[in-house]
C-alpha cells in the first residue's frame, strides 16, 4: 500500500463521526473609531515611521522621505509616486545582489491595510511587484491610501481580489522576540519601514 493510501486509510479509521457546527460569533466588521488614526498608532507602536499627506502632496512626501536613499526600486505601478525623487530608479529585471546593495530602498503600495493590527497586506499587484522586492532592500517605503484601511483581519482577507496570489502580511519592520522574549527590531527583513498614509 502506498504511503498516501495508508495514511488516508488510518485517518478514515480514526476520525470522529459526528459533524461539527462552527459558531462564528466573532466580529467580522470592525468600524467605529477613526481607522486611520488607529492604524497610524499601531504602526508607531511597531517602530515604523508614518507620514500623512493629501493626494496632492504624495510625490513631495515620497521624494523627501527617500532623499537619503542611493537608489530606489519601484514596481511599474509605484513609479508615478517618484515624480519628485531626483535619484536613481532601479527597474526589473534585478538580481538579489542589486536589491541587496547598500542604500537601496524599495517603494511599493499595498492591497489592503488592517487598522487594528497595523498590518499591510501585499498581493504582488502592479504597485507591489514580486515578493523579493519588498524583502531584500534594507528599507521599505509603503504608500497606503486611506480607502484601503479596514478595521480588522476578517474584512482585510475578504477584500483580497485573489487569495491564491503570493501574499505577504507586514506588521512593522523585521523583528525578533527570541532573546529573553523581548521584541527587538531589525533582523533579516527591511530594518526600516516608512508608511505614507494618503487621505
Amino acid at each position: 500500500m502506498s504511503a498516501r493510501d495508508e495514511v488516508l486509510r488510518r485517518v478514515r479509521a480514526a476520525r470522529p463521526s459526528a459533524p461539527v457546527d462552527v459558531p462564528r460569533d466573532y466580529r467580522t466588521v470592525d468600524g467605529g473609531a477613526d481607522l486611520v488614526d488607529l492604524f497610524v498608532d499601531r504602526l508607531i507602536d511597531y517602530k515604523a515611521t508614518v507620514r500623512r499627506c493629501d493626494p496632492g502632496g504624495l510625490a513631495g512626501a515620497v521624494g523627501e522621505l527617500l532623499s537619503d536613499a542611493s537608489a530606489v526600486v519601484a514596481p511599474a505601478g509605484a513609479r508615478a509616486w517618484l515624480a519628485a525623487y531626483p535619484g536613481r530608479v532601479l527597474r526589473e529585471p534585478l538580481t538579489v545582489t542589486d536589491l541587496d546593495a547598500a542604500g537601496v530602498a524599495v517603494l511599493t503600495g499595498c492591497a489592503v491595510a488592517v487598522a487594528r493590527t497595523g498590518t499591510l497586506i501585499l498581493d504582488a499587484g502592479p504597485d507591489q511587484g514580486r515578493r523579493a522586492l519588498s524583502l531584500v532592500p534594507d528599507r521599505h517605503v509603503c504608500v497606503v491610501h486611506s480607502g484601503q484601511i479596514v478595521g480588522g483581519v476578517p474584512e482585510a482577507l475578504a477584500r483580497l481580489a485573489d487569495p491564491t496570489r503570493p501574499l505577504t502580511l507586514i506588521s512593522g519592520p523585521s523583528a525578533t522576540s527570541d532573546i529573553e522574549l523581548n521584541r527587538v527590531e531589525g533582523v533579516h527583513g527591511p530594518r526600516r519601514l516608512d508608511v505614507v498614509v494618503v487621505d
Binding site: V7, L157, A158, I170, A175, I179
Partner: protein, 469 residues
C-alpha cells in the same frame, strides 16, 4: 508507528530533578515566561470577541478532524493544480527519506531552513547531515541552539533557556562577533552571518502553520524575515506539513491569524506572514514540494478524549503559563513538544519509553486550558492519559482494595476505625502536627516529597452523631 524527536529517553521525574539543579536556567525561564505572560494578557485583553474567536478556532479544528480524509484529498488536488508536488509520509523516517531524496535531486549540498516544529519532530537535520547535506537553521533561536550543539527547549523560542550573555558567548565560540550582548547587536550578528546564505541558497525547507484545503495555500507565520527569505529566494522549496494543519477554507484564516500572534509572542500581529499557493511564474521558488506527515497523528486521532490535542497551533501559550515548565524548562520533557501540550501530545503520538511519565508532569492547575487559543482541555486529557496508562501492580492492588472498601458504607466505617486504631501509636511520634514526615521504605517514596497525613481522631459522621445525641 511514529518516531523522531518525540520520545523521552529518561522518565520525567529523573530529567526534571537534573534541570531543577540549574539556578541560571530557572532564572532565565522565569524572566522570559513572565515577560511574555504580561504581554499576552495585555493584547488579549484588548480583543472584546476573544472568547468567540477561541470557540470558532476550536470548532474549525474539530470540523477538520471530522472531515480530514476529504480535506486532505481536496488540499492535494488544489495544491497539485497550482503547480506543487504532494508527497505523503507514514512516519518520521519516511518523511526524512522523501525530503533527503528531493534535496539530492537538486544537487544542492546546503539548504536554508525556516523554523519548523514538523522538521524538528522528524529529526530532519540529522537525516540531511547523514546524507552529506548541511541544514542551516535561520531562525535566530534555532540558530543559537544549532550553534550551541543543543536541543530546543520551547516551541516558539527554542533558545529560551539562554540569556543574552550566554547567547553572545555561543556566537563568539562560532565566529559570529557581536559588539555587546544587547539584543539588537546579537540580531545584527545573526543578520551578517546568514545574509550570504540566503542570497545564494538553492533549496529552502519550511513547515507550515496552516494549509488551506480549498485553495492548496500554505501559510508561514514569523517575525524576522528569515522565513520570507527561505520561502522566496531559493529555486526549490520543500514544505513539511503535519496532516492536522489543514484548514477547510481561506476564510478560516481570519480566526487563526487573530488567535496565533496574540497567543504566541503577545503581539497584535507578528511582523511577517507569508501565504503561497503552488508556484507563481516570476515570483519565488519555481519548484514546490509538499510532504504531508502522519507520524503518530492518526493514533492520537483515534482517542475520543485525547484527539483534541490535534487542534494545537503550536503557539506555546500553555508553556509560558505553566508552573511546572517555568521551573524545569523544556529539556526535562525529552521531546520537541515540551510543556503542557507536550505532556499530552508526545505520549499520544508515541507511547514508547519514558513518554508514559509525561502525563504526570503537571499540577492540573488548569492555567494552560485558560490560555489555549483553541480551548484544548489539557487537564482533562492529562487525567485521561493517567487513567488509561499503565500502573504498578502494588498501586493497582491498593486501588482495588480501596474501591472495595469505599463501595459499602459499613465496610468504609470499619476501615476508617481500623485505620485510626492503627495510627494511634504513630500519632504519639507525630505529635501535634497530625502528619508523618518520614516513613520506612517503600512508603518513603511518598514521604520523601510530602507529608503523610494521619486519619482524623473523629470522623464527620461521628461528630454529627455526637452533637445530635
Amino acid at each position: 508507528m511514529s518516531g523522531g524527536h518525540i520520545v523521552a529517553r529518561r522518565p520525567f521525574p529523573v530529567a526534571a530533578r537534573a534541570e531543577l539543579g540549574d539556578a541560571q536556567l530557572r532564572a532565565n525561564l522565569r524572566k522570559a515566561t513572565h515577560t511574555i505572560r504580561d504581554k499576552r494578557l495585555r493584547v488579549v485583553g484588548e480583543v472584546p470577541d476573544w472568547e468567540a474567536l477561541r470557540q470558532a478556532g476550536a470548532a474549525i479544528k474539530d470540523d477538520v478532524l471530522a472531515r480530514l480524509p476529504e480535506l486532505l484529498e481536496q488540499f492535494e488536488a488544489a495544491a497539485t493544480a497550482a503547480g506543487a508536488t504532494v508527497h505523503w509520509a507514514r512516519d518520521a523516517a519516511e518523511a526524512c527519506a522523501v525530503v533527503t531524496g528531493l534535496v539530492r535531486d537538486t544537487g544542492a549540498a546546503e539548504v536554508v531552513k525556516v523554523k519548523s516544529m514538523a522538521t524538528q519532530e522528524i529529526g530532519l537535520n540529522e537525516a540531511l547531515e547523514a546524507a552529506g547535506i548541511a541544514a542551516v537553521e535561520t531562525d535566530l533561536a534555532e540558530l543559537i541552539v544549532q550553534l550551541a550543539g543543543d536541543t530546543p527547549s520551547h516551541i516558539l523560542v527554542p533558545a529560551i533557556h539562554y540569556n543574552r550573555a550566554q547567547i553572545r558567548e555561543i556566537f563568539s565560540r562560532n565566529g559570529l562577533s557581536a559588539r555587546t550582548d544587547d539584543p539588537p547587536a546579537l540580531a545584527e550578528a545573526a543578520r551578517r552571518h546568514l545574509r550570504a546564505k540566503f542570497l545564494s541558497a538553492r533549496v529552502g525547507i519550511s513547515g507550515a502553520n496552516f494549509a488551506v484545503a480549498e485553495s492548496g495555500t500554505l501559510v508561514v507565520v514569523e517575525s524576522e524575515g528569515n522565513g520570507r527569505m527561505c520561502l522566496t529566494l531559493p529555486e526549490t522549496l520543500i514544505s513539511v506539513v503535519g496532516i492536522e494543519k489543514i484548514l477547510p477554507t481561506f476564510r478560516d484564516l481570519e480566526v487563526f491569524l487573530q488567535l496565533l500572534p496574540r497567543s504566541s509572542t503577545g503581539e497584535r500581529m507578528n511582523p511577517y506572514t507569508s501565504l503561497w499557493t503552488g508556484v507563481t511564474p516570476g515570483d519565488g521558488p519555481q519548484t514546490l514540494h509538499i510532504v504531508l506527515v502522519d507520524n503518530g497523528r492518526t493514533e492520537t486521532l483515534a482517542d475520543s478524549v485525547g484527539r483534541q490535542a490535534l487542534r494545537c497551533i503550536r503557539c506555546s501559550a500553555c508553556l509560558n503559563v505553566c508552573p511546572v515548565y517555568e521551573r524545569v524548562g523544556g529539556h526535562a520533557y525529552g521531546s520537541v513538544y515540551p510543556g503542557p501540550i507536550g505532556a499530552i501530545l508526545s505520549p499520544q503520538m508515541s507511547g514508547e519509553g519514558a513518554n508514559r511519565t509525561l502525563p504526570y508532569a503537571s499540577t492540573l492547575c488548569g492555567a494552560c486550558y485558560d490560555a489555549c487559543p483553541v480551548r484544548i482541555n489539557i487537564p482533562e486529557v492529562l487525567v485521561h492519559l493517567r487513567q488509561t496508562g499503565p500502573h504498578p501492580p502494588a498501586e493497582r492492588a491498593a486501588m482495588r482494595a480501596l474501591s472495595w472498601a469505599m463501595r459499602d458504607r459499613r465496610r468504609y466505617t470499619a476501615a476508617l476505625r481500623a485505620a485510626r486504631r492503627g495510627a494511634a501509636p504513630i500519632r504519639l511520634v507525630a505529635g501535634r502536627r497530625g502528619a508523618v514526615r518520614h516513613l520506612p521504605w517503600p512508603l518513603s517514596k511518598w514521604t520523601s516529597t510530602r507529608d503523610a497525613p494521619l486519619p482524623a481522631k473523629q470522623t464527620f459522621r461521628e461528630w454529627w452523631a455526637h452533637e445530635r445525641a
